[in-house]
């Protein structure tokens, strides 16, 4: 926890209304300003107490506070440093340790995740039982999407028409395993817009989950491997369609101490920069666009996806009230902090529901899983899609 970064905070409180846990509980300790104060206490000699660790753990890492801060406090870096300290210094209770161990030995590894897939139906049935064992396990089971058919991605997808760019594409672990259709759509959209899409095989986790949970060593290992993969592929731009992955990969320079040698851009960011060429076919739909925290706050990408969606004839875009507040998914948060995540999910579901939109669009699979689960709990339902899927449908002239 860098005291210099802590000192940047002038205690103005502008972060408070954007912080999901402050919105939930209204307590200083569960706000960014309060957490920075706790960090300061630690730096000045207070050991990490269980209470302190609890407030750090409760942070979703949504980074809405970073967007809101007028003083430019790097809370993103501070909380990462803090999580590492907590992991190092704080002794968690055994049950909690076991759950965390399970998640971190599972999620960052696509092959292990793949083993889980046939069990997904089973997980659904087991959910009530798991809930009793540990709420986190219950949450994990409840969130599991239906297992889709696996799709093998080609190594290269050639541009349609004149080639305008060559880009690498990250397949991601959760995206790749649970939402392969999103990756397929991403590749098609890029190709239709005139890009050669290079998809190196053997991609692993980019390290995002580990970074966000204070597992720096694991994160660095995974990051190095990802950098190697794309360097070998020889691309100078890597397009990412998962918000969490994109935000972590943009920070590789800081994590690894050297620049990776390629640009990392979110799909929408890249497409907006490239400019539309392919014909958009009408999609008569009302759409609520959900700002994934790791896209809106961590990467500052808000306008581009909206612009892309508005560019589709017949599509009506509706704003979700309190858009800046996290849906509670936040990477592994819904697994480790199920109650808070559930409450935030319910709030977001109500906000999304109030738009009356037919389709919920987001750039993060975690958010989508979370919001749909919350809407179902509330007896509502909504169709969901990734920005890439909506664009894909429009470019190909098929319905969604």
């Amino acid at each position: 926890m860098d005291p210099e970064l802590i000192n940047d905070c002038v205690h103005c409180g502008f972060c408070l209304p954007t912080c999901p846990t402050y919105v939930l509980w209204g307590e200083e300790m569960d706000s960014p300003r309060g957490r920075i104060h706790l960090m300061d206490q630690h730096v000045k000699g207070t050991p990490v107490t269980p209470e302190m660790a609890g407030h750090f753990d409760a942070c979703l890492g949504c980074m809405a506070c970073v967007t809101a801060c007028p003083s430019g406090v790097r809370y993103d870096r501070l909380i990462e440093q803090t999580r590492a300290v907590v992991e190092r210094e704080h002794e968690r209770d055994p049950r909690e340790r076991a759950v965390r161990g399970l998640v971190f030995s599972l999620f960052p590894y696509p092959r292990r995740l793949r083993l889980l897939r046939p069990g997904m139906r089973l997980a659904e049935r087991l959910a009530p039982f798991l809930e009793r064992v540990h709420p986190s396990l219950g949450a994990m089971a409840g969130l599991a999407p239906p297992a889709p058919r696996r799709q093998r991605m080609p190594r290269v997808v050639r541009a349609r028409g004149a080639r305008r760019a060559v880009v690498g594409m990250l397949t991601g672990c959760v995206q790749g395993e649970f939402f392969p259709q999103v990756n397929a759509a991403t590749a098609r959209v890029l190709a239709l817009e005139g890009c050669d899409v290079v998809i190196p095989p053997g991609q692993g986790c980019c390290g995002a989950l580990s970074v966000h949970s204070g597992r720096a060593d694991q994160a660095r290992r995974l990051a190095r491997r990802t950098v190697r993969t794309f360097r070998r592929a020889g691309v100078d731009t890597v397009v990412v369609n998962a918000a969490g992955c994109g935000s972590s990969m943009k920070e590789y320079g800081e994590l690894l101490g050297e620049e990776p040698g390629f640009r990392v851009l979110d799909l929408s960011e890249f497409l907006a920069e490239l400019g539309p060429v392919a014909e958009r076919h009408p999609l008569p739909l009302t759409v609520a666009y959900h700002d994934a925290c790791h896209l809106a706050h961590a990467q500052g990408v808000r306008a581009q996806p909206r612009e892309l969606l508005r560019g589709i004839p017949g599509l009506e875009l509706r704003e979700v009230p309190d858009a800046a507040i996290c849906c509670g998914s936040a990477g592994t948060y819904n697994i480790f902090q199920p109650e808070a995540a559930r409450e935030l999910g319910d709030r977001k579901a109500r906000s999304v529901g109030s738009t009356g939109a037919e389709l919920l669009v987001s750039a993060n699979p975690g958010c989508t899983m979370q919001i749909v689960a919350a809407m179902r709990r509330g007896g509502a339902d909504i169709r969901v899609a990734h920005t890439a899927e909506v664009l894909d449908a429009s470019l190909r002239g098929v319905s969604l």
Partner: protein
């Protein structure tokens, strides 16, 4: 004493909302003014007015002082806790209870943020007029305590002009409603702005205003602050009452530029932000006049849409926090001078700045003479902090000298209590103390704020009659 009280508090509130863990308590040690710190004895987070009343009742029973806090954004240390007392935090009381557009009012709990009220009624064409810079987070309860202003109070007035009624918990622990409609003394008027020393607001009825038909925001860049000042006088002299007239000097512009890249005209010695609002035809005519008046400006920008309007305001609204980018440490001052004294006072601030070798960035509500000098210093440099303090204090002396005030909107709190005797005579302060004693005879509600050395109630000014009975019985401390 406190331990017994804490036990009793746990009987009134769910245990998780009675905070006693020392690490947690310390996060409440200061509000927006970090210069003063005190770890509260205990923090409670009530959810209902009845809970607040019971907590205050218990404080009375145990003769323990209490302090109310909303979002903790105050800049005068008004919510500085007492180590021997209870901090009552209203941030969980944040329901908008009623929106009544036909009567242009809303009933809200004290923890609701200022901006949340506007957001609740904006689509219907209404808004809540007072707009302190911290409006997205500051609570309406805190606004009531501080009588908060904002950039637009030049035309629309302060919190007190927009509050219709308050349900309060008196320092005795009674729930009483103060209503503008009631005959009798204007206790509501006295309560608003009393900085938590007369009780705690638990339910607030605010007046909503109709959104103006047209808003025109103009950014005028001048070569010097004198030219800007002249334009301000000319605008007022022309009989125009803009919604806001804000001014920033070169150093403040530099800071805002560093923080939010507001892209104000390069090379400006001062920028003036003037906002006209009202009926479209009126705004249009006034804008024509304004354009003539600002003929000295080397650039005049007019916001064409809400986005451009926001862009103009962005630099101004971020100015306080932004100076952190150009200086390791700073003091935000808040003083008022008659508008016509502005040029002289600014020149004197310049002189002070040079004499003490301390940079001062000026951001101010020029329309009503409310200065917010930002006194910049490097806390690593020995003696710099003291010099900055001296400059900051001297600026307040200037304000008093010119017939102004030591605070226009941040409040007296703990920070400026010592300046009160410079602005007011002993008789003035004793008279204010009468109000305090009527509401809070035992001095338990936010003691130590606003007044430098409050007398005990029942004490006759000037004549001491031995040890006060409350002191004798150990129920109060002599200040």
């Amino acid at each position: 004493m406190l331990d017994t009280l804490i036990e009793a508090l746990r009987g009134v509130l769910p245990v998780e909302w009675v905070i006693t863990d020392p690490v947690r308590l310390r996060t409440y040690e200061c509000d927006g003014l970090t210069y003063h710190r005190a770890t509260p004895g205990v923090v409670v987070l009530p959810e209902t007015a009845e809970q607040v009343a019971r907590v205050v009742g218990l404080c009375n029973e145990f003769a323990v002082p209490f302090v109310a806090r909303g979002s903790g954004t105050g800049l005068s240390g008004g919510a500085l806790p007492r180590e021997d007392g209870v901090l009552i935090v209203t941030s969980r009381m944040r329901r908008i209870l009623e929106v009544d557009l036909p009567n242009r009012r809303a009933v809200v709990e004290p923890g609701v943020t200022n901006l949340a009220i506007t957001e609740a009624v904006r689509d219907q064409g209404y808004y809540y007029a007072p707009d302190p810079s911290s409006q997205q987070i500051c609570s309406i309860g805190g606004n009531v305590a501080e009588n908060s202003g904002g950039a637009h109070c030049l035309k629309y007035g302060f919190t007190v002009n927009h509050i219709e009624a308050c349900e309060i918990v008196t320092p005795d622990g009674d729930l009483v409603t103060l209503d503008r409609m009631d005959p009798g003394y204007d206790l509501l008027g006295a309560f608003v702005g009393s900085e938590g020393t007369l009780g705690i607001a638990t339910k607030i009825t605010v007046r909503l205003s109709r959104a103006p038909q047209a808003v025109t925001t103009v950014l005028a860049a001048f070569e010097s602050i004198e030219q800007g000042g002249k334009a301000v006088s000319a605008i007022i002299g022309a009989g125009i009452v803009p919604a806001a007239i804000e001014m920033m000097d070169a150093l403040a512009i530099e800071a805002a530029e560093a923080a939010v890249a507001c892209a104000y005209p390069a090379g400006a010695g001062a920028v003036l932000i003037v906002e006209l609002d009202g009926p479209a035809v009126e705004v249009e005519r006034q804008f024509e006049r304004l354009r003539e008046i600002c003929s000295d400006a080397f650039e005049l920008r007019v916001a064409a849409d809400p986005a451009e309007r926001a862009a103009i305001w962005k630099g101004r609204k971020s100015a306080f926090a932004a100076v952190g980018r150009i200086s390791p440490a700073y003091i935000v001052q808040d003083g008022v001078v008659p508008r016509t004294s502005l040029p002289r006072v600014l020149a004197e601030i310049d002189r002070l700045s040079a004499a003490y070798d301390i940079r001062v960035a000026n951001v101010f509500h020029a329309g009503d003479g409310n200065l917010h000098p930002l006194v910049l210093f490097d806390d690593a440099e020995p003696g710099a902090g003291e010099r900055a303090e001296a400059v900051s204090g001297a600026i307040l002396d200037l304000c008093i000298e010119h017939g102004g005030s030591i605070t226009g909107e941040h409040g007296v709190g703990v920070d400026k209590a010592k300046y009160m005797p410079k602005m007011f005579s002993e008789a003035d302060l004793d008279t204010m103390q009468l109000v305090r004693c009527a509401f809070d005879p035992r001095g338990l509600s936010n003691p130590g704020k606003v007044f430098p050395t409050p007398r005990l109630c029942g004490e006759v000014p000037g004549v001491r009659k031995g040890v006060h009975p409350l002191v004798e019985s150990g129920r109060a401390e002599q200040f």
